[in-house]
Each structure stands twice: as structure tokens, then as C-alpha cells.
């Protein structure tokens, strides 16, 4: 096994997902399959290969540090599941 039930539970917590017992069983099996498959990458020697994270060689894209109009409060809150007219409301944190 490449991945265990406990690994999946740990990763699900990191990703802020709850899994039902059925989902947990299925995901463990499917991820194990997928991870066994991707193991074929270990056939390749990549010791001296630089990773590619981006298709073009690009440099930092800087912009002027200028004040620009931002989204009006009303628009920013328009899609909020819950708000008080000024801020997004969430369940009590502390």
C-alpha cells in the first residue's frame, strides 16, 4: 500500500474535508492506485534536472505601487453567505 486510511484522514483534515466511511474506503483505494501509477516517475534519473514550474522563463511581473480603485464594499459583500453590512460573518472563533 502506498497510502493508508490514516494518511487519507490526515490529508483530508489538512484540506478541510470530512469523508464518510464509504468515501474514505473508496478514496484510499483510488489514491493508492493513482500513487502506485505515478511511482513510474522514479524510473527516471532527475538528479541534475531543474524543476519547471512555469512554461516560459519569466521574471517577476512588477507593477507601480499606486492606489487603484478597489471593489466597493457593497459589491464585495454581495455574494457573502452571511454579513453584517460591513464585514463577513463567521462562526465564533474564540
Amino acid at each position: 500500500m502506498k497510502i493508508t486510511r490514516e494518511d487519507i484522514l490526515h490529508v483530508a483534515h489538512l484540506a478541510r474535508l470530512n469523508l464518510s466511511e464509504d468515501e474514505l474506503v473508496k478514496m484510499t483505494e483510488q489514491l493508492d492506485n493513482i500513487l502506485s501509477y505515478v511511482d513510474k516517475l522514479s524510473e527516471l534519473d532527475t538528479d541534475n534536472v531543474l524543476p519547471t514550474t512555469h512554461a516560459h522563463k519569466s521574471v517577476n511581473a512588477f507593477r507601480e505601487d499606486a492606489v487603484m480603485p478597489s471593489l466597493p464594499l457593497e459589491d464585495a459583500l454581495a455574494n457573502a453567505p452571511e454579513d453584517n453590512g460591513q464585514m463577513f460573518k463567521v462562526p465564533r472563533i474564540i
Binding site: 497510502i3 494518511d7 487519507i8 490529508v11 483530508a12 489538512l14 484540506a15 478541510r16 474535508l17 470530512n18 469523508l19 468515501e23 478514496m27 483510488q30 489514491l31 492506485n33 493513482i34 500513487l35 501509477y37 505515478v38 511511482d39 513510474k40 516517475l41 522514479s42 527516471l44 532527475t46 534536472v49 531543474l50 524543476p51 519547471t52 514550474t53 512555469h54 512554461a55 516560459h56 519569466s58 511581473a61 507593477r63 471593489l71 459589491d75 464585495a76 454581495a78 455574494n79 457573502a80 453567505p81 452571511e82 463577513f88 463567521v90 462562526p91 465564533r92 472563533i93
Partner: protein, 486 residues
């Protein structure tokens, strides 16, 4: 001939000549939608009244002398392109009621050039899929044959154009999501070079791979649409600042002297004999036209599925962290603590494939596994990029199949993610390398399903793809066809 059957270029000529109004053209598309939508199921949201009002407006503007590259053309958008004031769901319950406060850059461009929006098109949830069957708001069907998939993730974008519901559409391609449905539905589709079309306002899946592109019924229409949507945008920091060519100028007859590469790894085991024959016919067409056919090798092709299914989920797990139920989208209101609210919101509203990819991605990026998975995949990505660099020293364009088989039956691979992932093997590399790729109709299988031919080129050489596709289209004679069920 009904107006909806016109290509965009033909329709523009008639509109400019005063032989057709945008209202007539738009109404013709709406009539066609009324006729076939119950079979094709391309639309998540259709707003005929808004489209007719906009069409009327463009007719007035045209009379007043306004110019626009697509002034009065009815079109559809994959439902992951933000449209101000119009719901944008990304095919997911988590964004079911999301109304963007701004337009995507490509939507601004379409509006500026006079496009008429018919509606938003079906797609796999968060563009994660190869059949569009994970869409929460209707699953598009293959417009040529009942019971077959339209492909994905831009399934609605392909099915709507193929069936004559809209003249052109936009999709997005992260691992083949424009080219594959274009091939399975018998339309033209382009995944442009990474960085040539702004991703501002595109709901992100895998940011280093995502690219927006057109789907259309012939090559000339895709070239015209590329002229509309391409160009630098400072709001997308990966957008490349270069002059945008006039893509329509690439559509010239003759391929003499062109070096056409045939990547031998794309013709291996598992390739359907009918698909092979159709692609070989495409190669013959170019050979007869005077092109030199070159045997090339892309030796790391066999590793692209493994690389892709680590990098794309890793980026997705990070991008989709924003769906937390706080500032927009679905929230589960039953949770008492913040962390339970996150968990219940995400578990209720994400579908199985999205959860699967978030889990793979989170695992590949997690402490202790990062080097073995994400870093290793990024290193092999370099080898894949180098394969293409060497290939394009020897040839100007690569020709191959888009998918190993024609469209398959609905429901076939729903519970077997790995075998669905493997069907993407011929399209994933272009996204990993950031090169442009295109599907152009090449023929039909005996069972009546369309088969596309894939063309891939060096960075920013869409002109080469368009030229070759244009010549194949002329020889094959499948341009501008409307799909009709047998």
C-alpha cells in the same frame, strides 16, 4: 440555409452587407436551441431576452458606423469565465449562486468587439474531467450520436457549437479540455500558448496549465476569435507582453516546404485503428501538398499522465482552498465552529472528483512527500519541455491524434478515475510545456462519430497550426458542418 448554420466569418459578411441583422441571427440560434437543447444539454444558463436585447443594440451600433470584430455574433461561454451580474457556477454546487462583480478579461474583449452572449455552458465541475459528466447542472451529450459523451471538460462549449446552438464559444484547456471535446464533437478547438490569453476572471483550476481558447465550426472562425481574445493583460502576471499577430493572415493555401513531425510515441498501443487511419490521411494530405514528413520522438510522453496528475491536483488543492464558505459561494450554516464550517461547507458542496484531486494534491504537497511527488513531477516536466524543444528543431508542427479513441458511451468510466486519466495521454504534454495545441476535424468513424487531428507547435506559433489546419480542412471538406443526430 438558416442563419444559425453560417460560420462566424460568413455571418459577419452578411451583417456588414446589411443582408442579415444580429436580431435575426440571434433568433435563429435561439430557435435552434429550442429544437435541439433537450438532446444536447449544452447550457447551464440561457438568457434569450438578454441576447435579443444585446443583438438589437449591436444592430443599432452597426447602423451608426460602429466596427467590431464580432459585432452582432451570438456565442456561448464555458461557465468558468466570470460574467458581471450573471451567475458563474464552474459546474459546482459550491458556486451555484455566485454572481461575479466583474468580467473576465476575455469577456471584456468580447463585449468590446460586439459579441452577443447567449448563455453559459456545461462543463465538468471545476473543469476536472474528460466527459463533462461531473457537471452539477446538466451533462452535455454528443450531438452526433445518442448515448455518447461530448467530452470534457469544455463539453458544453463543443456540443453547442457543433449542433448549431451558437456560432462560436470559449472553453478552457488545462490538460486537453478544449481539444478533446472539439475532437469528440467534430469542431475546431485551440489551446493557445500559455500566456497569450489573459486568465484574469477565469476560475482557476491549475494556474500554470490553464489557458482559455476558442471552439468553432471552422478554422477561420477560430483564427478570428483568437484575434479577439489574445493580448497582454497586466492583471494576469503570467500574461506575456508581446505584439498580437493577425491570426487570420495565417490562413493561406499550400504547405510546400513545411516540416511536419510525426511523434512516434503518439501512435502506440491502444490507438484505435480508425483514429489512426484518419490521422494518417491527414499526414498524406500534407505530404501531397509538398510538406516534408519527419519522424520525431518525444521520449517522455509515457510519463506525462503521472506528471500531470501530480502537478494539476497540487495546484488545484491550493487554488480551491479559497472555497471556505466565508466571502462567497455555498456555506453550511449548521456548523458551530469555524473549522467545522469549513469542513462541512467543502464536504457538502464539492463533488467526488474535486475531492479526489484536492486529496491527491494536498498529499503531493504535504510535508515528507513534497520531494518525492511534486518536486519530482516538476523535474520530469522539464524533460517533457526539452523533448518538445528538440522536436521543434527538426519540424515546424507536430501531427497526431487528439484522443486514442472516438467518443465513448456515457457512464463508462465514472468509477475508474485512473483509466479516464489515461485517455488524456495525448493532450496533457502541451499544457505541461505551455505550447499551443489544436484539434481540427479529420473524419468520422464507421459508427458515425467525429475524429479530430491534433496539431502542436512551438511557443507562440499558433500561425503554423492555423495554416496546417486550414489546409487539412480544405482537403477533408469537413469545415462548417452542423451535427445532426442519426
Amino acid at each position: 440555409m438558416q442563419p444559425y448554420e453560417l460560420t462566424m466569418v460568413q455571418a459577419m459578411e452578411k451583417l456588414d452587407a446589411g443582408e442579415l441583422s444580429s436580431v435575426e441571427l440571434t433568433q435563429s440560434c435561439l430557435d435552434r436551441i429550442a429544437e435541439v437543447e433537450s438532446d444536447v444539454k449544452s447550457f447551464i444558463l440561457l438568457d434569450g431576452d438578454a441576447a435579443l436585447n444585446r443583438a438589437k443594440q449591436t444592430d443599432v451600433e452597426r447602423k451608426a458606423g460602429k466596427k467590431g470584430k464580432i459585432l452582432g455574433i451570438p456565442l456561448g461561454l464555458k461557465d468558468l469565465l466570470c460574467t458581471k451580474g450573471i451567475t458563474t457556477t464552474c459546474g459546482s454546487k459550491i458556486l451555484e449562486k455566485f454572481v461575479p462583480p466583474y468580467n473576465a478579461a476575455v469577456v471584456e474583449k468580447i463585449n468590446d468587439e460586439g459579441g452577443v452572449l447567449l448563455g453559459k455552458l456545461t462543463m465538468d465541475e471545476f473543469a476536472m474531467g474528460s466527459t463533462s459528466e461531473s457537471c452539477c447542472f446538466g451533462v452535455p451529450q454528443n450531438p452526433w450520436k445518442e448515448g455518447y459523451v461530448a467530452g470534457g471538460s469544455s463539453g458544453g462549449s463543443a456540443a453547442s457549437v457543433a449542433s448549431g446552438e451558437c456560432l462560436v464559444s470559449l472553453g478552457s484547456d488545462t490538460g486537453g479540455s478544449i481539444r478533446q471535446p472539439a475532437s469528440l464533437c467534430g469542431v475546431v478547438g485551440i489551446k493557445p500558448t500559455y500566456g497569450s490569453v489573459s486568465r484574469y476572471g477565469l476560475v482557476a483550476f491549475a494556474s500554470s496549465l490553464d489557458q482559455i481558447g476558442p471552439l468553432s465550426r471552422d478554422v477561420a472562425d477560430s483564427a478570428l476569435m483568437m484575434n479577439v481574445i489574445s493580448g497582454y493583460d497586466k492583471r494576469d502576471s503570467t500574461s506575456v507582453n508581446r505584439e498580437t499577430p493577425d491570426y487570420s493572415k495565417a490562413l493561406t493555401e499550400g504547405v510546400a516546404g513545411l516540416r511536419v513531425g510525426v511523434p512516434r510515441e503518439y501512435f502506440g498501443e491502444g490507438l484505435d485503428p480508425e483514429v489512426r487511419k484518419i490521422v494518417e490521411n491527414g499526414i498524406d494530405i500534407l505530404k501531397r501538398g509538398g510538406a516534408t514528413i519527419v519522424d520525431v520522438s518525444l521520449p517522455h510522453t509515457d510519463y506525462c499522465v503521472a506528471v500531470y496528475y501530480l502537478i494539476a491536483p497540487a495546484e488545484a488543492s491550493s487554488n480551491l482552498a479559497r472555497y471556505d464558505g466565508v466571502s462567497y459561494g455555498f456555506r453550511d450554516h449548521d456548523a458551530e465552529s469555524l473549522i467545522d464550517m469549513y469542513k462541512q461547507t467543502r464536504s457538502t458542496a464539492f463533488g467526488a472528483e474535486v475531492k479526489r484531486r484536492i486529496l491527491i494534491g494536498t498529499y503531493a504537497l504535504s510535508s515528507g512527500y513534497y520531494d518525492a511527488y511534486y518536486k519530482k513531477a516538476s523535474q520530469v516536466r522539464t524533460l517533457i519541455l526539452n523533448d518538445f524543444k528538440s522536436a521543434f528543431d527538426k519540424c515546424d508542427v507536430l501531427i497526431s491524434p487528439v484522443t486514442p479513441t472516438p467518443a465513448w458511451k456515457t457512464g463508462e468510466n465514472v468509477d475508474d478515475p485512473l483509466s479516464t486519466y489515461l485517455s488524456d495521454i495525448l493532450t496533457l504534454s502541451a499544457n505541461l510545456a505551455g505550447i499551443p495545441g489544436m484539434s481540427v476535424p479529420g473524419g468520422f468513424s464507421k459508427s458515425g462519430l467525429p475524429v479530430g487531428i491534433q496539431l502542436q507547435g512551438a511557443h507562440f506559433r499558433e500561425d503554423m497550426l492555423l495554416k496546417v489546419a486550414y489546409n487539412i480542412e480544405k482537403a477533408v471538406g469537413l469545415g462548417a458542418k452542423i451535427a445532426r443526430r442519426q
